[in-house]
Amino acid sequence: MDMAYVHVDGAVKFFSREDGAGMLVLDHVSFDTKENGVTCLLGPSGCGKSTLLNAISGLERLEQGRVEVVSDHGRATTLSPQLGYVFQDPRLLNWKRVEDNLIFALKGMEVPQAEWKERIHKYLGMVGLLEFRKQYPLYLSGGMRQRVGLARGLVIEPEVLLMDEPFSKLDQFTARKLREDTLAICARLRQTALLVTHDVEEAAYMGDRIVILSARPAHVAEILDNPLPPLERELDDFGFIEFKKRLLQSVLKLMEEEVRA
């Protein structure tokens, strides 16, 4: 995998409400993601995390500021097709078999057809669903569907993988397992990824870098790098608990400040 990271500089986003008044959602958000690592966007519900991710992917337009994907291929200010997206609910095409869902993405990204088979094998294998490639999504469990969503994000071999709370609709056990696997896959691929979450423990576990966002309008409150390498994070390990505590303190402090303001 080539070098890649996302550079967000002074992102501002308004939404117009029903009553006509503008609502500020992103208030000059700036940060760089970790190069070839996982960056977590941690913030309360409704603060603008999804909006930010959509702005990065080009689904939403910013009023001010820039988003760039910096890679060996240069700085792409245009929202190039080099982004994969994993959604909160898997958003699969239920009428297409698992492998056809991946093909849908490959087709859109104009990956040459000669590579499809090999890529599908590689990434479905990685998420552990190779034997289900001919199955329809509605015959799979929630966790397995989310895995298909992950494979679809990876199969286009994006420079950056965007993930919007991909574990939040799963039960504790499935989520834990999927987090572990996702982290291992990203580490193995040296995948630059941006993961949105409102869960402190998830951020501490998944993030090589954590960007803490304030409540709406979102601005960057703090940026922390994880002292532990991805594969050495154990939920019951002392070092991990220390870092989680450190993160939690920042979040609590931020909430206190917001109450006072």
Partner: protein
């Protein structure tokens, strides 16, 4: 070691999924019994109808209610003389052409009405108005306009079912999942792929329901058109039977017509439905 454990538990989850799959598709005996039961119920319902017919025929003279078997003999005659295929063919062709025209026009219009506010406002009144228009009146209007020829039959079928098809597809389009559209944008799907892979599959059940109703309407209007003075088709044959006051002929033609309709409904449309919805586990709310 840790890596190995990881793969193992993925397989465990996968196996759990396979288990539920097995429950869905397995137990072949159960499936067969269920299918046999379903067919039995359908045959039983038709047998009951014939039984009621027979009971009624005991109380009326055959000129008013002919015996079922006399009528079936007449059906056999119609079919064996070859008459049937020409007449039914003419009627089927009129329905098929009219239907195709209505379909080709209503799918794009319905999708546009469901996706563009301005077109929705513009086309809503005429479509709703068209829905309330009786097929008989369309038949009269089309014959007066085009004359007694095939065009008027095609046109009458097309305009009668068009509003109903357009409304179904319009409403279906409005219920399309916006999140999937966003997904397709995130993966840079081409416009054609958006329509074929994302939008149309979500409309399939609406379109199939519309086809069912539409066919029902089409049969009714085509027979009316044929009664107005066409020289072939099932409607014409029924009128001929009426002119010589032969209840048996009228019923025999009606029965052949019904049989063909049922074959199309359950055979072709039912098959089509199973093919295009095989991705969806069946809802079996009352099964334990």
């Amino acid at each position: 070691m840790a890596q190995q454990q990881k793969t193992l538990s993925v397989q465990a989850e996968a196996a759990a999924g396979a288990g539920s799959l097995g429950a869905l598709s397995g137990a072949g005996g159960d499936r067969a019994r269920e299918a046999a039961m379903e067919i039995g119920l359908r045959v039983g319902s038709i047998a009951t109808l014939i039984l009621i017919w027979w009971a009624l025929s005991l109380f009326f003279p055959p000129t008013l209610i002919p015996r079922p078997w006399d009528t079936f003999a007449e059906v056999a005659e119609i079919v064996s003389t070859g008459n049937f295929f020409a007449e039914m063919g003419a009627t089927l062709r009129r329905v098929a052409v009219g239907f195709a025209i209505a379909m080709v026009l209503s799918v794009p219009l319905g999708i546009l009405m469901g996706t563009l506010r301005s077109l929705e406002s513009f086309f809503e009144p005429p479509v709703i108005l068209g829905l309330t228009m009786p097929g008989l009146i369309w038949a009269v209007l089309m014959i007066m306009f085009f004359g007694l020829n095939e065009t008027s039959a095609y046109a009458a079928v097309a305009v009668t079912i068009f509003p109903m098809l357009a409304i179904s597809i319009w409403q279906g389009t409005k219920s399309i999942d916006k999140d999937l559209i966003d997904m397709s944008k995130a993966f840079h799907a081409r416009p054609w792929s958006k329509v074929v892979d994302v939008i149309l599959p979500q409309l399939v059940s609406h379109i199939l329901a519309a086809v069912r109703y539409g066919l029902g309407l089409a049969w009714k209007v085509v027979v009316v058109v044929e009664m107005f003075g066409f020289s072939n088709g099932v409607g014409y044959q029924v009128v001929r039977g009426f002119n010589v006051f032969s209840m048996k002929t009228v019923l025999a033609w009606t029965i052949t017509f019904l049989v063909v309709m049922i074959v199309i409904e359950f055979g072709i449309i039912g098959w089509l439905e199973r093919v295009v919805t095989q991705w969806r586990p069946r809802v079996e709310a009352w099964r334990r």
